[in-house]
């Protein structure tokens, strides 16, 4: 599924856990691992990194480490493109302050601008446990069939215990209020129809996919899909949320925040953003 995985590293307390997680993914997908550090290369840091890699049995001969200087986001994205990376792993904070949100932290800038898929880990651990509760975005969008297909592929490899595909009814309140001009039967029929349509949409995608032994649940919510995904992921204590890409998001999208930006503003769990042409 992924041939080359890159990890953006900073010498922070979470670096070792992020390396552990990347190693797990490298083994899972049988892919190459690339470590990217943007900053001055020092002997001390190089030594520290080597110690960590050895400690976790990472084959130094098969792991490329790139040291570059410059603007972190721009450089990381450039290196990923040059090296043909198809999954970039980065650590991120669960939520950020007002100014960081509008101006953008490095992790969020990477998510917004990266051309390859991005896995953002908010709580990387040394345990190397597979993701057990995965939520996939099933809202009606052009990229959704692709996202669901790739999401299930990932879950099959991980042998995920519970997979939820969450789809939402757009403008439910307004539609129901409009239907309210009709009689009680019409209101009830409209309510059923709205739910059924969203279930059918996901079922139609699923019937063409090999689900293996996965237990896939379809959940229908109403409201803004991103906010609903966040809420649902928090409610079930999901450990991975998989969504598609919405194109290059800028500051305008943060001011008039929508969809993906709502998730980035308050990450409910680890987040995988699948970019359509990268995998």
């Amino acid at each position: 599924m992924f041939h080359k995985i890159a990890l953006a590293i900073a010498f922070s307390p979470r670096m070792e856990a992020l390396i552990c997680e990347s190693k797990r993914l490298k083994d899972l997908f049988n892919s190459e691992l690339l470590l990217i550090h943007i900053g001055e290369k020092s002997q001390l840091e190089e030594g520290n990194l080597k110690t960590i890699l050895e400690k976790h049995n990472i084959d130094l001969a098969k792991t490329k480490v790139v040291w570059e200087t410059g603007k972190p986001v721009k450089k990381i994205i450039e290196i990923c493109e040059k090296e043909g990376v198809d999954l970039l792993v980065a650590g991120a904070l669960k939520n950020e302050g007002f100014f960081k949100y509008y101006l953008g932290s490095i992790a969020r800038k990477i998510i917004r601008k990266s051309k390859c898929s991005v896995l953002t880990l908010i709580e990387p651990s040394f345990d190397r446990n597979p993701f057990q509760k995965v939520v996939i975005n099933g809202t009606q969008q052009e990229q959704t069939p692709y996202v669901i297909a790739k999401g299930l592929e990932w879950c099959k490899l991980e042998q995920t215990k519970k997979v939820f595909i969450v789809n939402e009814i757009k403008m439910y309140g307004f539609q129901m209020a409009t239907a309210g001009e009709g009689g009680g039967d019409e209101v009830s029929a409209t309510r059923k129809k709205l739910v059924a349509e969203e279930v059918i949409y996901v079922e139609n995608i699923l019937k063409h996919l090999d689900k293996g032994d996965l237990k896939v649940n379809i959940k229908i919510t109403c409201g803004k899909w991103a906010a609903e995904l966040v809420r649902f992921s928090e409610d079930i204590k999901a450990d991975l949320l998989i969504v598609g890409d919405e194109g290059n998001l800028g500051i305008f999208d943060r001011i008039f925040s929508h969809d993906l930006e709502d998730i980035l503003g308050d990450l409910p769990c680890n987040l995988l953003i699948i970019k359509k042409y990268s995998v």
Partner: protein, 413 residues
């Protein structure tokens, strides 16, 4: 504090009861005929007002609506609140994320769907102002109002039509909805600016200052205001009675915003509308709460407002067939050409573009609110108001069938 007397209270209650009953009866008839409730409610007002009841049973009309000045003032207060609440729910219907997710095609439809009808609506009354009932005042403001009146759309009617045709969730449906949302935001902003020049403040506020205030208030509300709402709503949802706490505080915020905009010289409706946009766009405003607020306003306040239209104006004596015809033609031509051209530019087929034009053509309740405020501000004559109401009804009634016809043509093409 002055109080209503015993007889005035009785009179007020009789007014409200008769208006609500007749509105319900005619809304049900409209529903049977597959027409929007607003059509029935306006007809109920015409029946209850000077046009029919006042002509056939003047004594009864006098007793109900002209015998107690204080009751009428109280009723007017109720109607004023209804207008503010109608604009609040119109704002709640706007979902900025849907607008942003629809991209350039929707923007093209909304841009041309706003500019071309605005131009049609502006040019004709500017050069033939007397024909449109303009007597004295500012011809430019009058023409700007007519431009806005032609550019605005009625989202509830549009959504209903799309749901009936099973097109709501289609790409075209979402494009129409988001284009209508954009047009409404801009339309109400322009109208608020026009109104601010009609009031007492006209002499003290410059045009630049008024535009700055209006745009500034809107931007503030949907950025910082929305952030504050996003912080407060989860607390309200968690700590207070649901949905009681949410509904009462949302309405309180609506009245505060309306009072603020009225205070700074922009009309109260604009505050209510923009606050509705900010609250409606919040991820913490649940769809269930929106539905309850819609039902509350649509069934308790809206009927009284629409019936009151018929009470204020005699639709028979003020019916000018030629003026009505011209207003309807300008409305159809502007909106269908504007939205249709926008859709063509966005890559839609000829018949799809027509369907979008017909879909966006519904003016419904929004046109009537706009017209009434202009009438009360002395901007338009009663004859033009009647023409606008008839146009709003005709465009709303024909939007669905014409859209269906264009979609059938598209299938055959």
């Amino acid at each position: 504090m002055e109080k209503l007397s015993h007889s005035e209270v009785v009179n007020l209650l009789l007014q409200l009861a008769s208006m609500l009953i007749l509105a319900r009866v005619f809304a049900e008839i409209a529903r049977k005929l597959k027409q929007p409730a607003v059509v029935g409610e306006i007809l109920a007002g015409i029946l209850l007002g000077p046009t029919i009841l006042g002509s056939l049973f003047p004594g009864m009309f006098e007793f109900l609506f002209n015998s107690n000045q204080m009751s009428n003032i109280a009723l007017d207060g109720y109607v004023q609140i209804a207008v503010v609440l109608l604009l609040f729910i119109a704002g709640l219907e706007v979902e900025l994320n849907i607008v942003l997710s629809q991209g350039k095609k929707a923007l093209s439809i909304s841009f041309f769907g706003l500019v071309i009808p605005f131009a049609f609506g502006f040019i004709a009354p500017f050069f033939f102002a007397e024909f449109f009932g303009f007597v004295e005042g500012n011809r430019l403001l009058f023409s700007l109002f007519m431009g806005t009146a032609m550019a605005i759309s009625a989202l509830p009617v549009i959504v209903r039509t799309l749901m009936d045709l099973d097109l709501f969730k289609s790409k075209m449906g979402m494009m129409i909805v988001s284009a209508a949302m954009v047009d409404d935001i801009i339309g109400w902003m322009i109208f608020s600016i026009i109104l601010s020049f009609m009031g007492k403040e006209a002499n003290t506020l410059g045009i630049g200052y008024t535009i700055l205030l209006t745009v500034g208030f809107a931007v503030f509300m949907i950025t910082i205001g929305k952030s504050l709402i996003n912080k407060v709503l989860p607390w309200i949802n968690k700590r207070l009675a649901w949905p009681g706490g949410l509904i009462s505080l949302s309405l309180a915020a609506c009245f505060l915003a309306a009072a603020f905009t009225e205070f700074i010289g922009i009309h109260a409706i604009f505050g209510a509308f923009i606050l509705g946009v900010a609250i409606g766009d919040s991820k913490h405003m649940t769809e269930r709460a929106k539905e309850i607020i819609h039902q509350f306003v649509n069934n308790i306040f809206a009927p009284v407002f629409f019936v009151s239209i018929g009470l204020k104006v005699n639709f028979f004596t003020n019916f000018d067939p030629l003026l009505v015809f011209v207003v309807i033609v300008v409305a159809y031509v502007g909106k269908v050409i504007g939205c249709g051209f926008g859709a063509l530019q966005g890559g839609m087929s000829k018949w799809e573009s027509f369907a979008i034009g017909f879909g966006m053509n519904a003016r419904g309740a929004m046109e009537i609110i706009l017209g009434l405020i202009a009438l009360e501000a002395g901007l338009i004559s009663e004859k033009l108001f009647v023409a606008l109401v008839v146009m709003a009804l005709v465009t709303s009634m024909t939007s669905g069938p014409l859209m269906k016809w264009a979609m059938n043509k598209n299938k055959l093409a």
